[in-house]
Structures are given as C-alpha cells and as structure tokens.
Amino acid sequence: MGATILRSWKVRIGLAVFAVFALAAIFGPWIDHALLGRDAKALNYLAVSQSPNSQHLLGTTSTGQDVLAQVIVGARDSLLVGLIAAVIGTALAILFGVTAGFFGRGVDTVLNFVTNLFIVLPIFPLTLVVAGYLQGTGPVTIALIIGVFGWAGGARTLRAQTMTLRNRDFTVAMKMLGESKRRLIFVEVFPQLSGWVSAMFLHGIIGGVLAEAGLAFLGISNPDTVSWGTMIQNAQQQNAILNGQWWWFVPPGLCIAAIGTAVGLINFGIDEVASPRLRSARRVVRKRTSRTAARTAARTGSEAAA
C-alpha cells in the first residue's frame, strides 16, 4: 500500500512540503540562530516596520522582529498544537467509532448518539468559549480542547467502516473458529482501517493548525508565544491593512495554507488507494482520454497529410 501511495505525484509533493515544515518545527530556533543569525523574539528598534529587503527577507514587525525568523519559529507551536489535537482526536474517534461499530446494539446506540451530537454542535464557538475561560493558557491545553471537541466526524467514518468489516466473510469465519473479540478487533479489523485512520489523522493535524490559528487570531493564546495565528493577530491588531504592511499577515497565512494543501494532497493519494472505485474510475478515464488523444492525433495527422 505504501509504495502505491508514493507513486502519486500529489503525495510526493505533499510529503515534501510537509517535511520542510516538520524540519522547521523541530529545528526552528536553531535555524534562526545558526543559519539566519537572529532571534525571532529579539526586539530591534533600529529596524521597525521595514518592508521586505535584503537584510530582512520578509520584513520586520512594529517592534523590529524579523518576520522570516518568526515564521520559522512559529511552525513549532502551530504544528505542535495540530499534532497533539490530531492524536487526541484520532484516539477518541477510534475509541468511539470502532467500539460502536464492532459491538453494535446498546453500546452502538449510546456511542452513536454522542457522536451525532458532536457532529451537529458547532465546534468552533464551543472551543472558543471553553478556551476563553482558560485565557492565556499554553499550546498543550489549547490542543487538548481542540482534540476533545473534534473527533466526531472521524468516529462516524470508522463506525460505518467497522460495521461493514464485522460482517465480512473473513471476520465471520474467524468468529466461527472461536477467535477472541480482542484479537478480532486488533489483528483483523484494525489493520483494515489504517487507511481511514491515517487520513483522519492528517486531517486532524490541519484541523488543529486551523483551529489554533483561529483562536490565536481572536486573542486566545499566550501572548508570549509565537505561532502563525498570533502573528496574524498582531497584524490585525496593529492595523497592518490600513498601513499596507502585507508582510505581517501574508507569510504566516501562506504557511497554514501550504500545510493544509500538503495534507490534502497526501489524503488524495491515500483515498485513491483506500477506495478502489476512485482509482478505477481514474484508470477508465485515463484509458478513455488516451483513446481520444490517439484519435485527435490521427485526425491532425491526416489533416497535416492533406
């Protein structure tokens, strides 16, 4: 499965972009100090609000902080929140979805009700209000809140998928052979879900990054931390638009969009492997288009001959 996924150009581009940001998240401060020779938080009142130039490639903030350095360091908090939120969200989705799907009956009724409830509740305002009460908390708490509220869509997918797996021939056969339930879930059913789970996990990362950015933008985050969301919030608060300082808010937003697109592209690839129909449809189309291409080539060829 891994090799099939890697064959897609979308996945390769997605992974490459993701890797760049992952490196920035892990080595951000080191990159800033060793390669750029500056500190993201260092104030420099001699270089205030400069537009991008050779000294500061992405310009400076109102306190002379280097925007490029901030973008690189900001990757850590943004991605950390996304990652933790995705881990919590995926774990809850597996817990609720697989349990409900596998055991059915009363367990399913209760768990499915909770899942449906979380699906129809507007999660962002809920997250916002809870985070609002805990104002100024660290990224881990924020990630916790985002993860705890954002698992329901995934749980529904896993539930439906588990339900179809439960009644497949091979699971029924295993049951007949007296296989234990635990072994059935962990050895037989679970590996079949890996495609869905990984897609869900990737989706959770971007969801977490977006949610963190949204919360930070509304002013709910520790003001001492540097994340892409706090950068955009600072820009908004200091009227970057009216002053035309686009370099305050364009780079961090572009990073979020790039990460999200990378994740989306990877998911495309996983999808095409996980649901064969999307793949076979592509193949049919490719055959059809190559036939049309051949026909047009023949036609233009005959026209050229005439």
């Binding site: 699906i119 507007p122 305002p125 339900m163 869905w196 897609a199 933008f217 955009i232």
Partner: protein, 355 residues
C-alpha cells in the same frame, strides 16, 4: 480528500444497506427526537461549561465587572449575575433549575462589557446580519461547489479536474480569516473598491431606504465572497468523489447502453444520486462555515454575531459569550434539522411506505 467525503460515501452505503425500508414518519419522528435531545444537551453543556472551569463563574463575572466600573456593585447587579450564573452557595441541581427557568423566560443575563444591556438585546441586534450573510453564502457555496464537483467527477482525471481538485484542496485549507485579510487588503485598501469596515453606510439612514440596502450589498460583498471562496472547495471535493462513485454504478451503465444523452445521464442518473450525501454532509460543513464566518466578521468589523463574540472574548464578557454560544448552537441545530428534512423529501428510500 477529505475525511468528510469518505464519511459520506460510507454513510450512503450504510443507509443503502438498510432493508426493509423505514416508514417516512418513523424516520422523521426519530430525527425530531434526536434534535430535541440535542437541543437539551446544548443547553446543558452551556450550563456546565462555566461550572467546570476553575473558580466560580458568578464570582469571576462580579470581579471583572467591578474592574470595569471601578467600584463595588449594587446588590441588584450581584443578584442578577448570581441568578444567571448560579449562586455558588447553592447546589448544582438548584442552579440548573433556575438556569432553565431563566432561559424559558428568554433571559440570557446582562452583558458585563456593555452593562447593563441584556445579552439577548445585543444578540438580537447582531443575529440578522449573520443569518443573512450565512444564508446567502451557504446556498451559493453549495450550488457553485456542487455543480463544479459534478463536472470534475464526471470527467475525473481530465484537465478541469486536474486543475480544480488541487485548487479546491488549497481553498479549503486556507484559513477563512486570512482570505478575509487578503481580500480586505487588496480590494479594500489597495484598489479601494470596497469599504474597510462595517456592515452598512453610516450616512445612509438605517432602515428601509434603498440607499441603506444598496450599501449593505456593497459592505457585505467582500465578507460573502470570502466565505464562498473558503467553503465551496469542500462541496466540490465531496460531490466530485460521489459522482465518480455513482458514475460506476450499473444503472448509469444501463443508461449509457440505452443511448441516453450525456446531459440526461449526468443530471438525471448520476448527479441526482450523488447529491444525497451532500445533504447529510451539511451537518459537518455547517459548523465549520459558521466558525469561519465568525472569524471573517471580525476581520471586516461586520456587525454580526462573530464580531460580537470577538468583543465578548476580548472583554472577557462571559454572559455574552455564553449567550452567543447557546444561540449559535441552537441555530445550527435548527439548520441541520431542516437539511435532514430536505433529505427525507429527496431520498425515496426514506419515503417509501412500509414493505
């Protein structure tokens, strides 16, 4: 792609597998029941959130209000706050009872940042703006995204699909408020085509004059385009994948074999069936569109619920935050209920009379 789309495909498979077919009214009744319980849960969650947070909610509100006004509060004010936020000395059940009684009278308490304006009045002022903005943009985004999705899915792997699918992935990954900032900076500041803040021209007389309505169109244009831009990508991807799935079904093959015109096959056979899960996906999408609209309003200083929520958060106005959360939750539940009901009308399987 999105996990939501995958989810839709599964939900569809699942509902298709259910035989015998449920009666329409049984289905309907179950949905009504679910939404009633959901509404009750929303009210209860709203009651519980402040009480699970560190410190007593009433004390926190009293403290912040005292900071604002710079002096001790009158006993009536303290009484009003304790009424809505629960006297910490009372039991939880008792607090819950009085909270429900307050709600039943439409009382959401008093705003602390705009004291002594009732929360309900502030929300009533802001709600129409958001409802109008969201109503228009949700319908437009749905129509645009779904139509583009049919085209992409029908010619999956084609040139249009090759371009639009990654683009819509990008569009749905971009944060709403960032698109809003870009739009405001470029079209508002650089080109000067649109106003930079507000929901209407303050010089035009508020109300029914045509000048006022024209100005709301001009002021609402950028926020609307932003929301449509960020939210139609999701619809596109969902519809694209469902169209690919239905395009491989036997009945589409039969339609082809019968020699029906491609347009008829696409719209009467493939798309008609592919669109059903889009309505079930409404629930998933609506919450995120609302969240995005709240942020977008903040950027444009649009006089809706989102901007009000922003002010509530920055002023730590907890009664207002609570009230907005409750109202938006109930509004989303209502919209979902309507979407579900439409689904019942569209899907013959939920409509058939018994076996």
């Amino acid at each position: 792609m999105t996990q939501a789309t995958a989810d839709l495909i599964l939900a569809e498979q699942e509902s298709g597998a259910k035989t015998p077919v449920r009666r329409r009214w049984g289905f309907f009744g179950r949905r009504v029941g679910f939404y009633l319980i959901a509404a009750w849960s929303a009210v209860t969650i709203n009651f519980l959130i402040p009480r699970f947070m560190p410190g007593s909610p009433a004390d926190a509100v009293i403290a912040s209000l005292q900071q604002h006004s710079g002096g001790p509060l009158s006993p009536q004010t303290i009484g009003a706050i304790e009424k809505i936020f629960g006297d910490p000395k009372q039991g939880l059940i008792h607090q819950y009872g009085s909270y429900l009684a307050q709600l039943a009278h439409g009382n959401l308490g008093l705003s602390t940042s705009a004291y002594p304006t009732p929360v309900g009045a502030l929300i009533a002022q802001a709600l129409p703006w958001t409802l109008l903005l969201l109503g228009v943009t949700t319908v437009l985004a749905f129509l645009i995204g779904t139509a583009a999705g049919v085209i992409c899915g029908w010619r999956a792997g084609g040139r249009l699909d090759g371009g639009l699918s990654p683009l819509s992935t990008f569009m749905s990954a971009v944060p709403y408020f960032w698109v809003a900032l870009l739009a405001l900076w470029f079209f508002g500041f650089r080109l000067g085509w649109f106003p930079l803040a507000g929901g209407y021209n303050p010089d035009a007389s508020f109300g029914s004059s045509p000048g006022f309505w024209l100005s709301t169109l001009r002021y609402g244009f950028l926020p609307a385009v932003t929301i449509i831009f960020s939210s139609c990508g999701g619809w596109l991807l969902g519809m694209r994948n469902m169209t690919i799935t239905t395009a491989g079904e036997d009945y589409v093959l039969l339609a082809r074999a019968k020699g029906l015109s491609p347009g008829r096959i696409v719209f009467r056979y493939a798309a008609r069936n592919a669109i059903l899960p889009q309505f079930t996906g409404f629930a998933l999408a609506l919450g995120s569109i609302l969240g995005g609209a709240l942020l977008t309003e903040t950027v444009f200083t649009y006089p809706g619920i989102g901007h009000l929520l922003y002010q509530a958060v920055s002023n730590r106005d907890f009664p207002l935050m609570q009230g907005i959360l409750l109202i938006t939750t109930l509004a989303v539940l209502l919209a979902n209920f309507i979407a579900d009901s439409v689904y019942v009308l569209l899907d013959p399987r939920t409509r058939e009379q018994g076996e």
